[in-house]
Every structure is written in C-alpha cells, then in structure tokens.
C-alpha cells in the first residue's frame, strides 16, 4: 500500500469516526457538529454570502502579509548576507526569534496602526518575515562557489550573475521561506483577528463561539482548513519539483 493511500485512509477513518461519535451522541452537538453538517453549513454560508466580507478581508490580509514577508525577508536576507559582521551579530537573535511570542506586541501595533487590517498585517509580517530571512541566508550560503566562478568565466556583470545564476540556484531554498511565510501569515492573520479585530474569519469564528453558533463556527473552521490544505498542496507540488532539480 502506498504512503499516499495510507494517509488518505487514516484521514477518512478519523473523519468517519468523528461523524459516528457525533451521530450517536458521544460528542454532544453543543461541543461539535458532525463533519457532514459542517459541509452543509459551509455550503449555506457561502451561498448566503453572510461572511463574504469577512472571508475577503482575511484572505486579502493573508495575501498582503505573505507578499510583504517574502519581499522584506528576501531584501533583509540579502543585506545581512552581504554584511558578514552584521550577520555574526544578529544570527543568534534570528535563531531564537521564534521563542518570542509575537502576539505580546499587539498593544504596540494597535497604538501604531489602530484596530484593523494594518495591525493584523503587521503582526503576521512580524511572525513570518524571519522565516524568509533565514531561508534567504540559507539559499545564498548554499550556492556552489563554482557556479559564481562560471559566471565570471562568461564575463557576466555582478547584477547578471545575481539574476541569472545566484537567484535560480537559491530558488529551492527561497521557496522553503515562501512556504513558511504563507503558513505564518495564515496563523498570524487569523489568530490576530481573534483578539484585535472587528472583522475577518478569525473574528467571525470567535463571535460565533461566543454566541454558541456552532454551525457557523465549524463551517468557518472547515473553510480555513480547506483553503490551507489546497494552498499547501499547491506549494508542495512546486517545492517537490524544485527539490528534485536540486538533488545532485
């Protein structure tokens, strides 16, 4: 049996088990609704458009946060790479960065940007950007010296060497940073909406939770899970292709 098939069987079995436990009342409806009901509820809220604005805000914020994290992280990574003494000084800080609970800074962002998308994006970027910085440093470190020498042999300028040799050579490593930035942006945006927003999917989930609207809550949670799975599957397909070319 293939690994993939086994994985599908495990997931389907888990869903069926939860479905069964919900249907026979082992899991009370006040705690969790059956997975099949979640799908029905999701269909309803998408058809009604009740949460369309929240969904649009959340995914727009995630997209903005991802783009900003990737761009800022890449530029910062290149700058840090080109300044070895700066790198020596801040590399230990980067290594321990994820030990800091980023969300403790939310009062600062509310003061700076107010309650709304700007604060949420700032927290998500703060959470995601360092993974891109680290991936950029890793990618640049791993460019074989011989490829740079090859650029010299072809008498390429520094800029052309960077664009036509160094960037493609580092791409598989950079893409790992992109993947992590997407994941951290999802976490940063949706978690921030729980605590410092009046809109968005995270806010809508918290709102439904407070009003015991389990149907809405689980439908929105299912929506997030589906989107995250689809996005990750897409990114993994690209990643596998890039990694396959890297193996030498």
């Amino acid at each position: 049996m293939s690994e993939k098939l086994l994985r599908v069987i495990v997931v389907v079995a888990m869903i069926l088990l939860v479905e069964l436990l919900c249907r026979i009342g082992v899991i009370p409806r006040m705690v969790m609704i059956a997975p099949s009901d979640m799908v029905v509820e999701l269909g309803k809220i998408l058809a009604s458009g009740q949460f369309s604005a929240d969904i649009r805000i959340t995914f727009t914020n995630i997209a903005i946060s991802t783009v900003l994290s990737v761009l800022l992280g890449f530029v910062a990574g290149v700058i840090i790479y080109s300044l070895p003494s700066l790198r020596d000084a801040i590399e230990p800080l980067l290594a321990s960065y994820y030990a800091v609970p980023t969300f403790v800074f939310y009062p600062i962002f509310i003061t700076l940007f107010g309650v709304g998308s700007a604060s949420i994006i700032a927290i998500a970027v703060l959470l995601a950007v360092v993974s891109m910085v680290t991936a950029t440093l890793n990618g640049l470190d791993r460019i074989p010296r011989v490829l740079r020498k090859t650029g010299q042999i072809y008498r390429m300028s520094r800029v052309k060497t960077a664009l036509l040799i160094e960037l493609p050579a580092a791409t598989p490593y950079l893409f790992t940073g992109v993947k992590l930035s997407v994941a951290y942006s999802f976490i940063g945006v949706i978690a921030s909406e729980f605590i410092l927003s009046g809109a968005g999917v995270g806010y809508a989930i918290a709102y439904a939770y407070n009003l015991f609207e389990n149907g809405h809550m689980y439908a929105l949670m299912l929506l997030v899970l589906i989107v995250v799975t689809v996005v990750n599957t897409f990114l993994n397909v690209i990643d596998r292709r890039l990694q396959a070319r890297r193996q030498r």
Binding site: P144, R145, V146, L147, K149, T150, Q152, I153, Y154, R155, M156, K160, L164, I165, P168, A169, T171, A244, R245, R246, Q247, R248
Partner: protein
Amino acid sequence: MSAALGAKVVPLAPQTATAPAHARLRGVTRVFDLPKSTLHALGPVDLDLAKGEFFSVVGPSGCGKSTLLDILAGLSAPQSGTAEFEGKPIQGVPDGVGVVFQEDASFPWLNVRDNVAFGLRRAGMDPAEINRRVDYAVGFMGLKDFAASYPAQLSGGMRQRVCIARTLVMQPRLILLDEPFGALDQQTRLLMGDELLRLWRETSATILLITHALDEAAMLSDRVGVMSTRPGTFIDFVETGWERDRDSRVVSTPHFGDITARLWEKLRIEALKIMSAGKG
C-alpha cells in the same frame, strides 16, 4: 602496434615548448592574505604553452596548481610577474579562454541543451548559430538523447560532459581543465580522457589540464609539468612524445610506464616532504 599507439622514445629531460607561446607566465607568484599571516601559494613560475599543445600539471596537494589555472583564466591576479594570453596581458577573463572545473558546474535549473547554450545566449549570439553550435556540441559529447534532461537526472560523468560541451560551444582557443575527472571512477575517467583527446584534435585548442592522476597526465599530454610543494614551482617538464592521434590504449605501452615512472620519481620526493612535514 598501430600508429595511434606509437610513441616516440624521447629523452625525459626538462624541456620547454619551442613553438611561439600561446600563453605565457613569467615570474608569476601568488600570495594569499590570511587573518593572521600570509600564505605564499605559488611561484615564481615560468611557463610557455605552445599553440595547440596539450599540457598537464601534476603536483602534490596544495601546491598551487589550481591557483596557476585561476591566474591563466583571469580569475585571480598574480602578486608579481606577468601572465599573457595571445601576446596580451591577462586582465580579467580573456576572450577565447574556457574553463572546466572539477566540481559539477552544470546549472540544475536548466536542461542539458539550455546549459550548453548558456554562454552563447549571454554573448547575444544569433539563435540559428546557437542552435548549430549546441547541436554539434551535444552530439560530439554524446548527449543527444539527454538534451531535454536536467542535470539531476544524469550521472556525474554525464554532468561533466555537459560542462565540457558548454565550454566547447564557445570555441575557446585555450581550454583550462581543473581536475575535471577527479570525481569520476577509473573506467569513466579513461573514456572521458578519450573524449578529451578527440575534442583536442578536432578543435586544435591549447589545453592545460590540472590533475592529481599521473596516469591521466601521462596518457593525455604532449608535455607534463611537475610542481613542487608549496609554494609551487615547476621542478620538471616531461615530454611524452605521443603522436597527436592517440587514445587511452597508450596505457598498455611500455613507454607509458616510463613516463609515469619519471613523473612519480619527481613527485614522490615532493609527496614525502609533505608527509614528513605532517609528522613533524
């Protein structure tokens, strides 16, 4: 024995090329600055490479062989002395010089064909001429069936063929090879040596090969330079006397044994110096 294998028995005395120099080094030295000291890696070195000559350099590890190649390639400037190619001082990578490195220098994100065409495209060559040259080089190096493959799908030997083809399409007049077969097994090395000789005969390029392998140097070269321990200088030049139309079968001739023995005689002393320094 065929003419291809016929080797002239020549006196194994130090000699220099008699034809006009295609590339020339005079009093070349290279010193590297280390954090707390300096490292005298090379020289002073004098060398004349005749046009169309196949010249190999052997020497103990760390004797400055690759530094010598870097200077001829224009990748590194000498501290003192002069380096010339076709009568002009070498400043930066000269036009007409191609380099094949020991490490795999194929671009993993490009397929074989695009790898081979890379330099021509950078040079802004006409696409029809690029296609013509790439077709020839890919065919010449036996890569026709792998033209659409990526380097990760090829063996180490095939990837090195890609790198040689990428150098070949540029039609260099001087080809510098830095232990290009160092990572390959013995059989593949012999066969790649044949390919290299074929390439040399067809292109009439001057070749400088850096190698650790005495048999490789003895089989491929018109002349072999033996270098001393660091700072590397030439301590012997050995003329092989092979005819131009030769291949790897020369390894079975007695003359091949004579050349290898002569090279080892000189190199052994240098290798022992390194070993005794290590023990000290």
